[in-house]
């Protein structure tokens, strides 16, 4: 039997899972009964995808904004630097 599991105890994993649960938006709302791990993972998946979309959306808007701004202004400079990163 592999001793790997003992090094990383079940408890640590549970802890990580609760932590994950706490940062997911959904679970915060409904008081925190421990959801099943697989549901949590699935929600995490969806959440990450939605975050990706949001980041893309915001970046697009920023770049649009940049396009309409006077390119020499300080505004533009800052936005540009943001988008560069």
């Amino acid at each position: 039997m592999s001793s790997r599991r003992s090094r990383i105890t079940e408890e640590e994993i549970n802890e990580l899972i609760s932590k994950l649960q706490s940062i997911l938006p959904e679970s915060r709302r409904r008081g925190t009964s421990r959801a099943s791990a697989s549901k949590l993972l699935k929600e995490t998946c969806n959440y990450i995808k939605s975050l990706h979309r949001e980041v893309d959306d915001l970046s697009d808007r920023l770049s649009d904004l940049l396009a309409t701004m006077d390119t020499n202004s300080a505004h533009a400079e800052i936005v540009r630097s943001l988008l560069r990163s």
């Binding site: 994993i13 791990a37 998946c45 959440y47 990450i48 943001l82 990163s85």
Partner: protein, 329 residues
């Protein structure tokens, strides 16, 4: 021998109705006996000529994986959508749940002696396992649940087959199914989170995922703040940075991969405004943290500022530095 209703049958483990629209990449065995890469007797499938004939009608997928598979997959006729079993039956009891296919499988299995039953890893990473318990020989033409539903997921039971040598009581089966679900989801996440390919082990992966989610959240927050601030906002606030420092520390501690600047913005809801001022003004000292936004000249913040300005931070940074500090990871 078996009157197998050749339908797509995927007694896979599914938690929810999963109807893949794309051709199922399950190791479709039946047809190509000869093509089986794994010639081991572990393959059970309908080797009956009729099965083959029938199966050929459908998209015959050669069984690619080298693992032997023991469960026969009933190849559906032509156009049926692959309906991954929605019906997942935990079947400790075997018979009904496992369609006749299994019954026939069993037979075949018996024919080939000593077949080693191994679980099949489908491309979907669902594994099908051979039920260890002896199935009834009866080829139930029932096919009932598994095979029939093409479109709609039947019941919601989970089909599990125990591997040879594994416990077959309902608890372990259910447990195994659960574990499989979890590991499958973890794999999905692994694909989503960058840099997770090399990480093995649940705990490390979870840790990585948590960090990534947090950094994404920061990023979003940052970008939205930015957006809010860059859109013309005319306010005249005096921003008070006093006592925001500890929050700052906490945020800094979060993850180094996160964007430094948002921490600044987070500290104060009217930050964006301040930022706006900063932009229009010539010199700003936004933040008593190591992340300096901007500095063009002597600090000339709003008068009220309680910003602790370290001497080192008084250095003038030009906007370019900002770029360096902001590393979106």
């Amino acid at each position: 021998m078996a009157a197998f209703p050749y339908q797509h049958h995927h007694p896979l483990l599914l938690d929810s109705p999963y109807i893949p629209n794309s051709p199922i990449k399950l190791p479709q065995l039946p047809l190509q006996l000869g093509e089986m890469t794994n010639a081991s007797p572990g393959f059970l499938y309908y080797s009956t000529p009729e099965a083959i004939a029938e199966a050929s009608a459908t998209e015959a997928r050669t069984f690619e994986s080298s693992s032997s598979f023991d469960t026969a997959i009933i190849v559906p006729s032509g156009d049926t959508k692959m309906d991954y079993s929605s019906s997942v039956l935990v079947e400790p009891h075997g018979s009904e749940g496992t369609t006749k296919v299994q019954g026939s499988m069993e037979k075949k299995r018996k024919n080939r002696n000593g077949t080693s039953l191994k679980s099949i890893q489908s491309k979907e990473s669902k594994s099908r396992r051979q039920k260890k318990s002896v199935e009834d020989e009866k080829l139930k033409a029932e096919e009932v649940k598994e095979t029939k539903p093409f479109e709609e997921p039947p019941t919601g039971y989970i089909h599990v087959r125990a591997r040879r040598g594994q416990a077959t009581d309902s608890h372990s089966l259910a447990e195994r199914v659960r574990r499989e679900k979890i590991s499958e989801r973890m794999k999905l996440l692994q694909g989503l989170v960058p840099g997770c390919d090399k990480i093995t082990g649940k705990a490390l992966m979870l840790d990585e995922i948590i960090n990534y989610v947090q950094s994404l959240q920061n990023q979003v927050e940052f970008l939205s703040m930015k957006l809010a601030s860059v859109s013309p906002v005319m306010h005249d606030f005096a921003v008070d940075f006093n006592g925001h420092v500890d929050r700052q520390q906490k945020i800094e501690g979060m993850s180094q991969a996160s964007i430094p600047v948002p921490s600044v913005l987070q500290r104060n809801p009217i930050q964006p405004v301040a930022f706006e001022e900063a932009i229009t003004g010539d010199c700003i000292m936004m933040d008593p943290s190591p992340f300096l936004l901007h500095g063009r000249g002597p600090l000339d913040f709003s008068q009220d500022n309680g910003v602790q300005v370290d001497n080192k931070r008084q250095g003038v940074l030009n906007p370019m530095m900002f770029d360096d500090m902001c590393s979106f990871q």
